[in-house]
Symmetry: C2
Subunit: 357 residues, 2 copies
């Protein structure tokens, strides 16, 4: 396929795309408004209006790989109907020659489609060395920092990433293997309002995205990260998921349904559990009466919520259960340690969560 795409090769509008691919775009559009409405980012009325994203700027995080190239074009073709503006954001990781080529490709694509591009080159290897973390983590941090900075230039920004249903499958498996509770086991969220983040393709299978690009005669760059450091994910993708798929050819649908059920439950527990925030001493106190009013299923989640509100560090299930046990036995003074320097102490009147540092 020619590279970069010639401006006159790309379909100009949604109407110029073959019908199945145009339907894909509309499905994605519907998913976006449903998810944004579900998360309270837009009203139900607005979601059903003719231009539901009027005034919004969708920042399409585009690496030049198939997923994010498809994302960029789908958002682009949806823009006239849905009322949003599309801009592309690209971070050149400055890691290999290919990363400059990727940047060049994204730039050419944006020119061809008439999409405004915000692009920056950052030495991720330097960042990783300075931050003493892996390349992947440093890259991720640099990307999202750049996206957030660019988003701040707009009044109603939404950062869109190309995560799709195959990523979701891997994510659920990763969470099952590492051990996630429920609803976290259901996989990554489609919307994270606090971060103005949206994953428009989360229930769309990857093969549909490459089919879409081919139908649009749009090339893409092979995503170098697919064969990159995260070995667990690659083994899950290349070995474990095909085995599961063999047992149930509709395994992808099964995972999407699980995800949908998890989203309902996430929303439920957010509704049911009280809001928590550290007081001026950086402590969170949960009163005995609050705990007594909850079922064990709610208490276990409230402990986690309190620990998360104190900062980073994943609590172990065993420690959460030990805390529940201590609370149940009313073991006053008993103190349970959690990662990130956090502790929970049983007091007469409830449980006090704090940072020991």
């Amino acid at each position: 396929m020619p590279y970069p795409p010639l401006p006159n090769q790309l379909p100009a509008r949604l109407q110029d795309i073959p019908a199945p691919q145009a339907r894909l775009c509309l499905d994605v559009g519907r998913f976006m408004t449903e998810q944004l409405a579900g998360a309270g980012c837009i009203s139900r009325e607005q979601a059903l209006s003719s231009a539901p994203l009027n005034g919004y700027t969708m920042l399409a995080a585009c690496s030049g790989g198939a997923d994010s190239t498809a994302l960029l074009l789908i958002l682009h073709y949806l823009a006239p109907r849905m009322g949003h503006t599309v801009v592309a954001v690209h971070l050149d990781h400055a890691l290999r020659q290919e990363s400059a080529d990727d940047a060049h490709f994204v730039s050419q694509l944006c020119s061809a489609a008439g999409i405004r591009l915000f692009s920056v080159r950052t030495d991720v290897a330097d960042l990783a060395a300075a931050g003493r973390c892996g390349l992947e983590e440093a890259g991720r941090k640099a990307r999202y920092a750049f996206y957030a900075k660019t988003a701040a230039l707009f009044s109603r920004p939404v950062i869109c990433t190309g995560h799709h249903a195959d990523d979701l499958k891997e994510d659920v498996l990763m969470r099952l293997i590492r051990g996630a509770g429920w609803p976290a086991l259901g996989g990554m969220q489609a919307v994270i309002p606090e971060r103005s983040l949206l994953r428009p393709l989360l229930v769309t299978e990857k093969y549909k995205l490459t089919t879409f690009l081919e139908a649009c005669r749009c090339p893409w760059r092979e995503d170098a990260s697919n064969s990159d450091p995260s070995f667990t994910r690659n083994r899950i993708r290349n070995t474990i998921i095909p085995l599961l798929q063999q047992e149930n050819p509709s395994f992808g649908t099964t995972i999407t349904e699980l995800w949908e059920a998890a989203a309902a439950d996430r929303d439920y527990w957010t509704d049911v559990l009280p809001e928590l925030a550290p007081d001026k001493n950086g402590q969170i106190f949960i009163a005995r009466s609050t705990l007594q009013g909850l079922h064990k299923a709610g208490r276990l989640r409230l402990y986690k919520k309190a620990l998360e509100a104190l900062g980073a560090g994943q609590p172990l299930h065993a420690s959460i259960m030990a805390l529940e046990h201590a609370w149940h036995r009313n073991q006053g003074g008993k103190c349970i340690q959690f990662p990130g320097g956090k502790t929970a102490r049983i007091r007469h009147g409830g449980i006090c969560f704090c940072l020991t540092a």
Copy 2:
């Protein structure tokens, strides 16, 4: 190893077993009382008393395989401490020469240990032909019917099966592959009060059971069912689970934790959702006010509960979601079909579930 065991080979009492194996027995005993208390079968006070199962008869379903042989012995060694009586129940499937040998082995083992045995020979192949179902299903039905019949001879019977933590892992994977909602995804229950069923070994890993039997110098029969019809399960056991275990050597713990969290949530939803039973016309009507008082997460579960109360047949997630959608849009008259000849119809005042037959 000699077969059958000589009476004087088996340790006589818990005190005669090597310490690690005696601890295993005590762990199982604790798990049993916790689970029975959690399900409301015995009181919390009783669970903590010196003979918590006083007056109970534990019917150990024993095939002669390692899992159920270990179960039988563990229950036997725990009896003096916990106060229960142990009897063995064995169904000879009359399928192969081995099945008669299995029956003989169980009989010899029970004689050696001084355990009362209820044993019957049933032609499962005949049953399968008559019932037009698979051998496995016919065998399972015949076994549980025989267990229930034997249980009825006692005043406080508990049917105990040898399902262990490795079975639980397989079960969770099976449910993930086939598509189970939450909390069903967390795996089989340890107690099913309606069926007087208990799975004392559910969080005990299989290797601990064979180690236990070896330490007790007790032989067992190789379980023919392990290489039997259920191919999906065998592939999960032999291929998929080892791969997951490679990614996380503590995968077994992860699954046990998931199971524990699911148990808390199952209990929660049982508490929260209203009781449902068909009226004299065999219908279940859920009033609009009840539905409106519930979050979507609760409604989805209540639909399932109503359908289950009408009889066999697993509802598809997509149909449940279609029902929610119809209810949400207040589509009066709209009728959704479910497997097992069940329907749900949106009425002005709520939703009516019934059998169409």
